[in-house]
């Protein structure tokens, strides 16, 4: 698995994924604005929702991939796992920011405020901070092997926060709606939401989530290719130095 990942021909995969991602984004935008019906209570504002859920989904996938590659790195310390973990956390962090911003734009008309310290919003902010700190930790370790190990251990611990975020909305009384599954009895009451009233909405949401998943893969491939180029340049530099200095 590790060796196959290291040999993977990214120069061929990257353009294909890029084209696929752009095409799907266009389709998904068209679906979002023309196919999906206008929601009754929220009106057109509800269309943010497809973007919001898609971004949140990619963030969760990114952090999960980071967890898996962190564990893989601890089992077998190969650079490729560290690179995948960094790339996934980077992407996850960008999409967490998008989720927060799009949620805030939605919150203004829905709750009449940009921000409210509800459990879900608090925990997503905490989540954002946790993964920003990941880069602080990486920046503070000079030794490459140690950096990889520490980052992997941290990513495993950080995922506990992801899990708690996921459950916090089901456990605590919150203003944020629950989309998948049921909220626990104690948490119900504040969360009336019928954003998925029609089949067309469900289809639009699924297309959006699929698009964002492809976008994630495209970003990941681009990031891995970038890292490979960086490694190559470092390698060439040291070869050059060795040749003309010694």
């Amino acid at each position: 698995m590790t060796a196959r990942l290291e040999r993977m021909n990214l120069d061929r995969i990257v353009p294909i994924l890029n084209i696929l991602a752009v095409t799907m984004i266009i389709i998904s935008l068209l679906v979002n604005f023309f196919y999906a019906p206008t929601e009754t209570t929220m009106g057109n504002v509800q269309r943010i929702f497809y973007f919001h859920v898609g971004a949140a989904w990619v963030a969760a996938v990114g952090f999960f991939v980071a967890l898996i590659s962190g564990i893989a790195y601890l089992r077998k310390p190969a650079n490729i796992w560290d690179t995948i973990a960094v790339a996934s956390v980077e992407i996850g962090l960008v999409f967490t920011s998008m989720t927060i911003v799009s949620g805030s734009v939605w919150g203004r008309p829905a709750w009449n405020t940009w921000w409210i310290w509800s459990p879900r919003l608090t925990s997503i902010t905490v989540l954002w901070l946790v993964y920003v700190a990941y880069f602080m930790l990486r920046g503070a370790v000079e030794d490459e092997d140690k950096r990889g190990r520490f980052a992997a251990v941290y990513v495993v611990a950080a995922f506990v926060t992801v899990i708690i975020t996921f459950f916090s909305i089901r456990l605590l009384r919150d203003i944020h709606p629950v989309l998948f599954g049921e909220a626990s009895e104690a948490a119900q009451g504040l969360q009336k939401f019928d954003g998925l009233a029609s089949t067309k909405m469900v289809i639009s949401l699924n297309i959006s989530v699929l698009t964002f998943t492809v976008l994630f893969l495209a970003w990941l491939a681009n990031r891995l290719r970038l890292q490979r180029l960086v490694d190559k340049v470092t390698d060439l530099k040291s070869q050059f130095m060795a040749r003309y200095q010694g």
Binding site: S123, L137, R149, A157, T161, I164, S168, L171
Partner: protein, 249 residues
């Protein structure tokens, strides 16, 4: 011949049993040895708990500045103050406990000794939890006097213990890493506070509900308590499994 074989094999199996029994004893005794070492050091130096407690008192005074002596606002915010104080004093304790291991090179000595890495982790978690709890139980009467809230109720104290375990479990893991970086003690709050906030927020919510004039019923708080307990278990497991990668040399 065959009889001889069975005798040999029986002897072997008995030997194996004895070995595992010895390992079990030595695992727990090594955890205990780490705890005992920390307690003894603290008894002689009195560095940790004293600093934590004085810092906590200073923090309470600083918080009162923010409220301009508004007593009802202070009462509202008392639970938050308590937990923020514990968090900040906790980072002091964690840093002190693990940096002194490095400065005195005692961590190197521990690593040379035939002790499992996870045993070092558990020992450290237990000793730092004990120190933090001593600080908390000294802090609680002060909070009762200053804010006139019933922090003495047994469920409140239980929540303090549960919240502290998770906080320290994450703390020992993260501090062991941060003290080995070039940023050292500066890095710890940035790493640890966000990591433990979900559990601490839930614990603070429960504390607030339990110290209200009409304390909350079990049904109202059980989910938040479950969250704190789940965090404790996850963090202890994560630390237990990954600690050998943190202090590998």
């Amino acid at each position: 011949m065959s009889e001889g074989n069975t005798v040999v094999s029986r002897d072997k199996s008995a030997g194996v049993e004895r070995d595992t029994a010895q390992e079990k004893i030595s695992y727990f005794s090594s955890v205990w040895a780490i705890v005992w070492k920390d307690l003894t050091t603290e008894r002689h130096t009195r560095q940790l708990i004293g600093v934590m407690l004085v810092f906590a008192l200073t923090a309470v005074v600083v918080f009162n500045f923010a409220l301009f002596g508004n007593l009802s606002a202070a009462r509202e915010a008392a639970t938050g103050f308590l937990w923020v104080t514990i968090l900040l004093a906790g980072t002091l304790g964690l840093n002190r406990s693990l940096i002194s291991e490095q400065e005195n090179r005692s961590m190197e000595a521990i690593l040379i000794s035939p002790v499992e890495r996870s045993a070092i982790y558990l020992g450290k978690v237990i000793s730092v939890t004990l120190f933090t709890l001593i600080m908390e139980f000294a802090l609680v009467p002060i909070f009762i006097v200053l804010f006139n809230k019933p922090f003495w109720r047994p469920p409140v104290l239980a929540v303090l213990v549960l919240g502290t375990i998770g906080y320290v479990a994450a703390g020992v893991l993260v501090t062991s890493m941060s003290v080995q970086t070039k940023a050292r003690e500066v890095l710890l709050p940035v790493l640890l506070l966000p990591l433990t906030l979900p559990s601490v927020l839930a614990a603070a919510q429960v504390t607030a509900a339990l110290t209200a004039p009409v304390p909350a019923s079990w049904n109202e708080i059980q989910f938040a308590v479950a969250l704190v307990v789940a965090f404790d278990i996850f963090m202890l497991t994560a630390g237990f499994l990954t600690y050998n990668y943190v202090i590998e040399d």
